[in-house]
Structure formats: C-alpha cells, structure tokens
C-alpha cells in the first residue's frame, strides 16, 4: 500500500514540496578538483557539463552532497565526479575533490565592499590507475 501511494506521488509529480527558495534561499555549494600530475604540477577543474542548462541542474547534486550526512555515500558521489574529470586528464596521479560552501555577502555587506568567500566543507583524495576501466 505504501509503495503504491509512493508511486502515485511520483507519477503525479507531487512527491516534493512546494517550498522553492523557502523559507530562505540557501547558500550555494561549489566543487573544485585539484589535479596533481607526476611531475608535481597541479591544475584545477570544475565539474564539466556540455550545456548551461545542465549546469543549472548541478546545484541539486551539490545540495544533495551537502545535506547528506552518510559519509560513504558522499564520498562515493564525489569519487564518481572525480572519475568523470579524470577521464579527461588520465595523466593525473591524484585528484583532490574539495567541496565547499560559497558565502555570498549580504546587501549591506556588498555595499561595504565584502566579497564572496568559500568555506571548505570536506575534501577527499582519489587516485586512479590507467588500467581502471570500470566506474568507481
């Protein structure tokens, strides 16, 4: 019975509440990948998507990572995202995924000259070998 009701809610598109941007607009999150190469050089990458529309969908994923308190799941999702970046940088020895919160200044703060700041929430190091063929 519970499953049937859950199916109906999903089917009708009513499983989520209607409190968009309510009661307050939350801070946004940012994910940065630091790639380290064998010669010691480092490079920074953001999660790459092909279109701006998909880019506007990324905050849902980042909000989920932030809200998720189950450490292994958070780590697994970040590893998957790091792996997708590593696919384009297969020489990288190590990828550090740095997940943080973007703190935008208030109206008064911005008027005073405050700039957006970045507070690290968590960071993980991942290493992938070139022989790795399956996703994490």
């Amino acid at each position: 019975m519970r499953e049937t009701i859950a199916f109906y809610l999903h089917a009708a598109g009513i499983e989520a509440g209607y409190g968009y941007f309510a009661p307050n607009v939350p801070y946004s999150y940012k994910l940065v990948f630091q790639l380290t190469y064998p010669n010691g050089t480092t490079e920074y990458e953001l999660p790459s998507v092909a279109t701006t529309e998909t880019g506007r969908r990324l905050p849902t994923l980042l909000d989920f990572i932030a809200a998720n308190r189950y450490e292994p799941l958070r780590q697994l999702i970040l590893k998957m995202l790091a792996y997708s970046v590593w696919q384009h940088h297969r020489d990288a020895l190590r990828i550090r995924a740095v997940f943080g919160m973007v703190i935008t200044p208030s109206i008064a703060g911005y008027s005073r000259g405050d700039e957006p700041s970045y507070a690290v929430v968590c960071a993980y190091d991942f290493g992938f070998s070139k022989t790795e063929r399956s996703p994490p």
Binding site: A6, H10, A12, Y27, S28
Partner: protein
Amino acid sequence: MNEWFFGGTTDNWLSALRIGLGLQLVLYCIISRADWRQMFALQPGSFVTRDLTEALVTLGSALVPRVSWFVSAGEFIGLSEATVLWVVWGVLLAAGLCLVVGMFCRSAAIAAWFIHLSAIKSSALFSYGVDNFTSIGLFYLMLSPLPDHLALDSSWRKWPVKNAQLQSFWQRVLQLHLCVIYFFSGLTKLLGSGWWNGESLWRALTRPPFDMFSSEVLIYGKYLFIPLGLGICLLETSYPIFIWPHRTRRIWLVGIITMHGAIAVLMGLYLFGLIMGVLNIAAFGTDLFRLRGRKVI
C-alpha cells in the same frame, strides 16, 4: 459543487496545455541532448552513475519508472545501452512533437509522461522544479479528455472531441493544484526572515550559477529588494483568492507570469519560466485571452 466541477467549458485550456507541454518537451530534449548519455549511462565517466540515482529513488517505491527498465528491455533484444538511450531520447522528442501538432494525442501524452518521468527519476540528483512541474502537467494531460479541437487528431483524422463536463473537471483540478502550489510556496517564504528584508531575493539573484547579472549591476536596485520580495510572497499567498474573480484574475495572472518571466531572464531558468507560464495560461488564461473555442456536449 457538481455544477462547479462539471459545468462544462471549452477545450481551449487543453489546447494550451498540450501545445505548451509539447514545446517544453521538445526544448528539454534539444537542450539536454549534449549531456544525455553522460546523464544516464553506466559507462565510466558519467557524472553519477544511473544505478546509484535509481537506487536512491526506488528506496521509496520499486514501482517508480526508470531508464534501466528501457535498457534492460533493449538488452533483451540485443540493443546496446547507448542505442537504447538514444531511442528513448528520440521517442521523447517525437512525443513532444506529436503533442505540439496534436497527432496521436493520447498515446503521445502517455508516452511523454512515462518516458519523462523515467528520465527525471533516473537523473534525480540533477532534477529541479521544472521537472516536477512538467510531470504534473503531463500527468493531467494524459488523463484529460484528448483530443482538443485544435489537434490534428480532430481536424484531420476526424476523431470526436470529448464532452465539456470532463473538460471542466480536469481544468478545475489543474486550477486547484496551482492554487495549492502557490499558496504553500508563498506561505513558507513568509516564514523566512530573508523575504522580509530583501536578502532572499538578493541571494537568489547572486547565487552561482544563477547569477546572470553581476552584483555590481544588481546593487543599484537594492531598495527594490524588500518591496519585490514581499510582493512575491503576497502574490503567491493570495493567488488562491484573487485568481478566481474575473475582476482580479487578469492582474494576478499577469503578475505571476511576469514573476516567472523575470526568474527566467534574471536567473537563466528559461524552461522553468516556460512550464509555469504554460500551466498558468492553461488553468486560468484561456478565457481571458478570448481564444475561439468549441463547447461540446
């Protein structure tokens, strides 16, 4: 009450809903084409593998449709995952086009609802409001008395138009649903201090990746954030009251569509703006714009 639900109406609202949702699906397909495989494939390098997202979604119910069902069916007849994903994309696009022109309306609406629902559930970690509202619209479209008089099914294939009582019932359901959505959306906003002091509106517009305009430009309008923020809350909370009388309907409808238009332009949420415009016009707008309609017995 019976008269209110089943009093009969034209099918203009259904034409607006069908064409608008069809257009929404076509744009969704075109825009998501470049990332489609990466969103749904199990291959190395996809953002978040489909099986993880589907596992999270199906915690609530194993009956929720998902892309894996199509992939499994395709593999059964020897199709690769990539082929199945493109077939799914193509069928969704075709269903959207059929809805726009009104061909095979019922089948197209059912296919569009099922495939769209599967796609958004399998990419739930990338879904936002636009997907929920498209699902809501497609759910009602699928159940509504199709075809409408503007559909090719009626004019070309001569399929009979359904009765006016059913038209008015489903329009009432959509109208009531929108009232619930706006009322609770506005009410929950009023609970937050940010909507009273303008900070929520400011943060919504400066929050990456929705910061279409730089803070340097937006700060010039800082005195408008408080009245605009409160105006949004009041517009939404009072929607269920003022959208019904003919005297105030035009004001509230124009106000709410303007709000969604502004969200689309200022935050880059064009698909969200479109779906909300479509739902509002289908629910309350077609009578105001005096579209020629046919009331069928």
